[in-house]
């Protein structure tokens, strides 16, 4: 149990997927201009990351590895994720239209969200078991949510702040992200 808590906190705070590892920067910059949109995106990412890990981990351990097909990892994982996203989209459209309305638009964008593919590769590379992998997936997705919401909040303040002409627009976002990343550096000593 202790081990799982450690994995979760490390994935969420210490190795924050966006601020410390620079994964999933495109949605981080592109989707954070509206707090409501970023909540929808984060939910979709959480959902698909967990689902994708639950699908690819057994696939690697029970199919690719025993058959010595490890070199097909990239090809199979991306295909599994892409088709999974499609399936979820069809299912939600049919059976939960309300949820689809709030989350659906982001699902199509998610296939190319690096965080998901990165998680599925990470858990294999780190040699995690199934429970550890799922915890890691939830941790990474929560870390993504946290940083996305933080930046969305900061952007609302930037709108009314006097920004130097030179930095107006996107540059100031990266400066804000740099400061955020610095504060996340403080979590480094959290777990020994």
């Amino acid at each position: 149990m202790n081990d799982l808590v450690k994995i979760f906190l490390t994935a969420m705070l210490i190795d924050n997927v966006v601020l410390m590892r620079f994964i999933a920067l495109c949605p981080f910059i592109g989707m954070s201009n509206d707090a409501r949109k970023s909540v929808g995106m984060s939910l979709a990412v959480l959902f698909v990351t967990v689902l994708a890990t639950a699908a690819t981990w057994p696939l690697y351990m029970f199919v690719l590895k025993p058959m010595h097909l490890e070199f097909l990892q990239i090809l199979t994982f991306i295909l599994v994720i892409a088709s999974l996203v499609q399936l979820v989209e069809f299912y939600l459209k049919k059976s939960a239209p309300a949820l689809y309305g709030s989350m659906g638009v982001y699902l199509t964008l998610i296939t190319t969200n690096c965080a998901i593919l990165a998680v599925t590769f990470d858990v294999i590379a780190k040699g995690y078991g199934f429970a550890q992998s799922m915890t890691y997936a939830v941790g990474v997705a929560s870390g993504f949510t946290l940083s996305l919401l933080l930046l969305a909040g900061i952007r609302e303040r930037i709108k009314i702040a006097p920004v130097p002409d030179f930095l107006k627009g996107t540059p100031i976002l990266f400066v804000a992200a740099a400061l955020l990343a610095m504060s996340f550096g403080g979590f480094a000593g959290l777990i020994k």
């Binding site: 410390m20 590892r21 620079f22 495109c26 892409a82 030179f166 540059p171």
Partner: protein, 209 residues
Amino acid sequence: MRETNTMKKYLSIFANGILTENPLLMLMIGLCSSLAVTTNIANGVGMGLAMTFVLVMSEVIISAFRRLIPDAIRIPVFIIIIASFTTIVDLVMKAYAPALSRAMGVFIPLIVVNCIIMGRVESFSYKRTVAESVFDALGMGVGYTWVLCLISLIREFLGDGRFFGHAILPERFQVKFFSQSPGGFLVFGLLIAVALAVNARIAKKGAAR
């Protein structure tokens, strides 16, 4: 006369990716790998080359088969083609440059989901000829690589005191901030600011003329 015109067209496609539509500084896509691996110049060059290879090969194959790929399933087809070339790069790197491959880690597989490739394939090579696609891919690749090299030069020099791997800055002048993640964000933000300013000046000059 016609020859010089086609030459000019290819050159302008090539030049497009280097500044005016630079994938990193102007379109701001495919950012992840550009900040994560750029702590030293060797990684920057390696990532740039890997990316350029996948970009050129995918664009060539897709534009060559563009009339055969059905519209409805083009995205899965693109993904399979891109993933195949990424696998080739991954295996070649593991065999011939194991140290570089370890340093890049998960960022080589992540080339598959890099928006630059998907974006160019979908918006350019699916509609254009093979020759045009080659020049577009090369332009985008070079545009990506030079920005990567510049970021890694700055971060390696300020953070590690090294220039192309030679130590020149003594320890007490090094700012570790730059080799860590906040420094990556800051350097990239300032680079975008400079690129936007340069672009605005070019546009102004063009309008005045």
